[in-house]
């Protein structure tokens, strides 16, 4: 069985590793000169920055991605963050994420505990937003700010733009799989090790190769045309999202095209800092609910010092984009950093923004339409088709697992 995979991002590489291990003849085509998409390293001034992700795996060594990596034999060490996350409060004090209720009155703490326990079991069926859902029970500024910080960090969305059932699903997964971890060597170590697995299983990865079109005959994908050459395939899997994939063949399914039109990518800004002294001092997430724009920050060199030159730390902040004025959004982010670390010396290495065709997530949580397409043997993987409740790359892993199950290669 020949499988053609379009795109060598994390989703494409995970799929390639799974299928090549299951005995498929795998060939991957990537338009860019490098593999890994938004989940690989970007070497800059001696730092291992990244093309996208913040060198963090949301559920660390116990999560769905880690599990999938182990299954295919990818050699990656994931260093679990300890503490998992810290919240910076309005008075600048830091509390552990698990203690977030402690700032509230005893009555509110009890009420929140009960509501959360009930709602995790019986998730709201409506599409009520996470913000409105909180407001149903509490009008508490700290909780609302924490919700924005949490949704911003994990989904690059404001709490008013995510359905409550999706966030509750994520909280559920957080209890199930626990907190984040940092892959030793950065996210590039993950994608490179997957590439090794694919090659050792006889698979092939072509870079700088454009897919001109997907060849469809009688509702079935028969192969692709890549840089003008026809490659036959029994199955085609695309890691470039529904909209871009649908433009690679003549798609006439009006209902599907309408669905695609309603999916929205999520936007974000990452600011990379270099510092001699640690700014955070631990390997977990620092949630910053009282910053104007920044949702959270990590300092990955506390887990893996090799991500920066000797004697330096690598610190990365993430923020959702709330207006169309990107320069203004970035300026607010830089202002937040100044306020968060007033007495510290640091250098801004790079300011990276993500939207449109190179977003944080190709499909925002809550508007995901799944992995199927109108073509029977053409599937979508990657952040354009994640599993339910899966944050970032954990969602990519869950999505790949769903496709593997469907085609009987799990």
């Amino acid at each position: 069985m020949k499988a053609v995979i379009i795109g060598a991002g994390l989703g494409g590489l995970l799929t390639g590793a799974k299928l090549s291990k299951a005995g498929y003849d795998v060939e991957i085509f990537e338009r860019l000169p490098f593999i890994g998409g938004r989940f690989t390293n970007l070497e800059y001034k001696g730092f291992k920055l990244s093309t996208g992700a913040l060198h963090m795996i949301p559920h660390g060594s116990r999560g769905p991605l880690s599990q999938l990596l182990r299954e295919v034999g990818a050699k990656v060490t994931i260093i679990d963050s300890n503490p998992m996350a810290i919240i910076k409060k309005e008075d600048e004090s830091n509390i552990e994420f698990h203690d977030f209720k402690k700032g509230l009155s005893i009555t509110k703490q009890v009420k929140l505990g009960t509501i959360l326990a009930y709602s995790l079991k019986f998730k709201p069926k409506s599409d009520i937003s996470f913000r409105d859902w909180i407001l149903k029970f509490f009008n508490d500024e700290f909780l609302l700010r924490l919700a924005d910080s949490y949704c911003g960090w994990s989904l690059s969305l404001a709490a008013k733009d995510v359905p409550a059932h999706e966030v509750l699903e994520i909280i559920d997964n957080m209890y199930r799989y626990k907190g984040p971890g940092i892959p030793a060597g950065g996210c590039g170590a993950v994608t490179e090790s997957l590439s090794d697995v694919i090659k050792s299983n006889g698979g092939k990865i072509n870079t700088k190769t454009c897919i001109d079109r997907i060849i469809i005959d009688d509702g079935m994908a028969k192969g692709v045309s890549a840089n003008g050459k026809v490659i036959d395939a029994d199955i085609v899997i695309s890691d470039v999202g529904h909209p871009e994939t649908s433009r690679m063949y003549e798609c006439r399914d009006g209902k599907y095209l309408e669905f695609i039109k309603n999916t929205r990518p999520s936007r974000g800004i990452k600011i990379c800092l270099s510092s001699r002294e640690p700014l955070i001092g631990h390997s977990g997430v620092l949630f910053t609910p009282y910053a104007e724009r920044i949702n959270g920050i990590n300092e990955v060199t506390n887990a893996d010092p090799s991500l920066a030159p000797p004697g330096k730390h690598l610190v990365m902040s993430h923020q959702t984009v709330l207006s169309d004025d990107l320069a203004h959004e970035i300026a607010l982010g830089l202002g937040d950093l100044k306020k968060l670390f007033p007495d510290k010396e640091y250098e801004v290495l790079l300011i990276q923004s993500y939207s449109g065709g190179w977003p944080v997530n190709r499909v925002s949580s809550g508007s995901d339409i799944g992995y199927r397409t109108p073509v029977h043997n053409l599937y979508i993987v990657g952040d354009g088709a994640k599993g339910r409740g899966g944050i970032e790359v954990e969602g990519v892993a869950l999505g790949v697992r769903n496709v593997m199950k469907e085609i009987g290669a799990s």
Binding site: L32, P33, T51, I351, G356
Partner: protein, 53 residues
């Protein structure tokens, strides 16, 4: 080089530029160091860079 409105500001062009000719603040722009080598075109994930006509 020309940068179109498709640019998202991801910085890949700036990092791979061998001449330190690109600055990015929400969007890429080339400075006088640019020698039109075209490496940035290859590394742009959204095909936002093209040669001047």
């Amino acid at each position: 080089m020309k940068v179109s409105e498709k640019c998202v500001g991801c910085c890949q062009c700036a990092v791979y530029c061998p001449h330190d000719a690109i600055t990015v603040f929400g969007r890429a722009s080339m400075n006088e160091n640019c020698v039109e080598c075209g490496i940035c075109i290859e590394y742009c994930p959204v095909s936002a860079i093209s040669e001047d006509e």
